[in-house]
């Protein structure tokens, strides 16, 4: 908890939920993204449909799910599909407006590594791998990344590119013909980032209250590009904090 009365996770959740304003069909992950989507549904995106890669559309979870396959996602949803249908007819066909990804490593163009630390054939750490992340990065129109910022995770060079981001050549990115183009926003414990139209590079848009540029630089493996209108992240409102603490995560599992 900061002196301003909210935790790092709470400002990450509030900032992310505002980025979903007006969105409709959203691929949800567990943990923070689940709380973000449920908060957005109650605030910035009342029409948000929660979609889970486990094959659920229009979920209304009655409790905080530990996994994306929790039975509470099924009960009361509008559709349960096979995973083939979910990936082929919903995601690949371009029906997913927004999605969340994370990773052990991200680079300045939003490429993500969830596969290995070290060499692929003899890894230092074997991570989970793609799951649906590779195709989500390609097909979801907007991709939000929520990650804590550190030198070891915001790296100049990924050990493995699991999910593609921007290439660094926007003309090439447009010619790919994908519905998406990898991450569109990154929210960390220090600030929020977008991706520059001209270069496809991650660009610092806002610093969270009390965070310095120096802290940002110390916690990433490259010199960050700064927005010409670099601003401050709006802190969570009383209403957002009440929803998070009283309704979405009353036990403080993900937010304290």
């Amino acid at each position: 908890m900061s002196e301003n009365g909210y935790s790092k996770n709470e400002i990450m959740i509030a900032a992310s939920a505002r980025m979903l304003a007006g969105e409709r069909n959203c691929f949800v992950g567990v943990g923070l993204p689940n709380i973000v989507c449920n908060l957005a549904q109650r605030t910035s995106a009342p029409d948000l449909q929660l979609v889970y890669e486990s094959g659920v559309f229009g979920a209304r979870p009655a409790r905080l799910p530990l996994s994306i396959g929790d039975p509470t996602l099924v009960s009361g949803s509008t559709a349960v599909t096979s995973m083939f249908e979910l990936f082929a007819f919903y995601l690949q066909a371009g029906l997913i407006d927004a999605a969340f990804l994370g990773g052990a490593q991200i680079d300045r163009f939003g490429n993500l590594n969830t596969t290995v630390i070290g060499d692929y054939a003899s890894p230092k750490v074997r991570l989970p791998g793609s799951g649906g992340a590779c195709e989500i990065a390609i097909h979801a129109r907007k991709v939000l990344v929520i990650m804590r910022q550190a030198q070891r995770s915001f790296v100049e060079k990924l050990h493995f590119r699991t999910s593609p981001g921007h290439s660094g050549d926007p003309e090439h990115d447009r010619s790919r013909g994908w519905f998406g183009s990898g991450p569109t926003s990154v929210v960390t414990d220090l600030g929020t980032y977008g991706f520059d139209d001209a270069s496809g590079e991650m660009t610092l848009l806002t610093l969270h209250p009390g965070v310095t540029l120096e802290q940002v630089r110390e916690n990433m493996g490259w010199g960050p590009k700064l927005s010409a209108e670099l601003g401050e992240t709006r802190p969570p409102t009383d209403d957002e904090l009440r929803l998070i603490r009283e309704e979405l995560d009353p036990q403080g599992v993900y937010t304290s």
């Binding site: 009960s75 349960v80 596969t115 791998g129 590779c134 790919r176």
Partner: protein
Amino acid sequence: MSKLATMRDAVAELVRDGDTVAIEGFTHLICFAAGHEIIRQRRRDLTLARMTPDVIYDQMIGAGVAKKLIFSWLGNPGVGHLHSVRRRVERQDPAPLELEEYSHFGMVCRYAAGAANLPFFPIRSYFESDIPSANPNIVPIRSPYDGTEVYAVPPLRPDVTIVHAQRATEDGDAQIWGLLGCQKEAAFAAERVIVVCEEVVPEEVVRRDPNRTVIPGIVVDAVVQEPFGCHPSYAQGYYDRDNAFYLEWEDISKDPEVLDSWLDEWVYDLESHAEYVEKMGADRWEGLKPGERLSGQVNYGDYS
């Protein structure tokens, strides 16, 4: 024709050393009871296929049944890592484990190709990813119609697929509700199929609601009734996911000695899943019992 069998007999007859085995079910309906019986019967050199290896394959790999793993997401969902698998991959401890990895969509389509008797399945994924460089089975191809580039994945045809269902007839017509995962594709793709169920029901029950049948008896070789057979996974409407167990698994699988003693206590020293259910105790099952939320009914119509 009745295909009813005990888990012991079904595994003894249908799961052989060296087989490719798929115990499918995405978070939901993962048949731990079958995995435990395979461990008990000390099968060896299996190739295990699953989209999400989950705790069940961590247990089986920790017990030494497998030489290879085919998968798309390797973790303990919502918790963290699968340490038996990581020891094998990172330190070859106690032996190396061959990996063959895809994305979720790639794995689903491998089963779909296997089920539909196709030589490959084309998907729009893997572009500008390093996954194809780690797995030469994922190959870029062009559409013969407009030249569009897609990636091909090969069919996956398990020797044995094991799926759990809420209910089935003794002929193997299996009805599932809740998350469907790739149960249907994995069953149709396999050479042999074991259906495990919470309840064996008369054919009339299935005939009253044929839309709910996911796997038809025609592809099923054995039907095993095993109540609570998915624990700590779950069966929608029957028992909840035992999230506490998934959290506890982190400390069990981290230490090989603790893992071995867990396997002794909960697998090797028990004769059957019924003993596991009894040993777990009535309180555990009571705590996992969901409330009631009934579906409505539809009118199929009587056309006699």
